[in-house]
């Protein structure tokens, strides 16, 4: 599919976009927080990847190559945009709270998780999202972030330790 996209087949590129849209948007949102900004960054990254497809080494997996572009685009956008004051995370929120059984409580949990993610260093956020949400290996994440594999393990560990506090008393339904 990548080879076809490199050959200039726009339909093949469309299939790649469809396949990687979800992960690209989630990674961008982990970096930027704001969903609109994240979509803009993911879109810029996809188009940038299209232009750079000639540089892609087909012997390597496509996902990490693309996600590196996405992560860089999101980071650049975050640096460019007006610095917004980050509100400190509400201690009451991190200390658990009631079980989010209802939709409203689920929404609250999502918000709490996003706030907790926003408090983590950027690299740590990307590492835990790619590892636990997207199922990428430590090696692949190391490629995305351009850091040693051991550092990725450490980043995932610290991110999990922080985020698990939020989910400590929450059990999935079913």
């Amino acid at each position: 599919m990548v080879a076809r996209a490199v050959a200039g087949e726009r339909a093949a590129f469309g299939i790649l976009v469809k396949r990687y849209a979800g992960v690209a948007r989630r990674v961008a949102r982990a970096v930027l927080g704001n969903p609109e900004d994240a979509d803009d960054a993911a879109q810029d990254a996809m188009l940038s990847a299209l232009v750079k497809l000639e540089q892609y080494d087909a012997r390597r997996p496509f996902g990490p190559w693309l996600l590196r572009i996405v992560a860089n685009a999101a980071t650049d956008r975050r640096r460019r945009r007006t610095v917004r004051r980050v509100e400190p995370l509400d201690v009451g929120l991190t200390a658990g709270g009631p079980r989010p059984d209802t939709t409203a409580e689920r929404r609250a949990l999502n918000e709490r998780l996003r706030q907790a993610l926003a408090e983590l260093p950027e690299r740590r956020r990307i590492a835990v999202v790619l590892f636990d949400v997207e199922g990428y290996s430590h090696g692949e994440i190391a490629t995305v972030l351009g850091i040693p594999e051991g550092t990725v393990r450490s980043e995932v560990f610290h991110a999990r330790r922080r985020l698990r506090v939020l989910l400590a008393d929450w059990k999935e339904e079913g």
Binding site: V17, L47, R153, R164
Partner: protein, 113 residues
């Protein structure tokens, strides 16, 4: 949820699902359609354009190398011109580089006798 093991190499499905839900933006189709539509307007560099770019870089590198080589050759020629060449009288007046060989002197003395 299990207590985290340090550097656990397996993804945590509970945390993964919770994070996925928290980060999902929805409207994947709208996003995809938007990117694909914009991709139609993006000018992807063709192979001949890439080649032309490399050719320009190659010509620039060749010019730099030629200039550097010309400078080095020019400097070497100028240095050789400034070297002082001995005149004929200098050579005649100057003492011989090597002292006269003893055998030659003896032979001439014996020959005179």
């Amino acid at each position: 949820m299990k207590d985290p093991l340090p550097f656990d190499h397996r993804p945590d499905p509970v945390l993964g699902r919770a994070l996925r839900e928290a980060l999902d933006a929805g409207d994947a189709q709208v996003f995809t359609a938007r990117v694909v539509a914009l991709a139609g307007q993006v000018r992807v560099p063709s192979w001949d354009a890439v080649l032309a770019r490399w050719a320009r870089a190659g010509v620039a590198a060749a010019v730099v190398v030629a200039l550097a080589a010309g400078y080095l050759v020019g400097r070497g020629t100028a240095a050789s011109r400034t070297t002082v060449r001995p005149t004929v009288s200098d050579v005649l007046i100057a003492p011989p580089a090597h002292p006269a060989e003893v055998e030659v002197v003896l032979a001439s003395v014996i020959g005179n006798n």
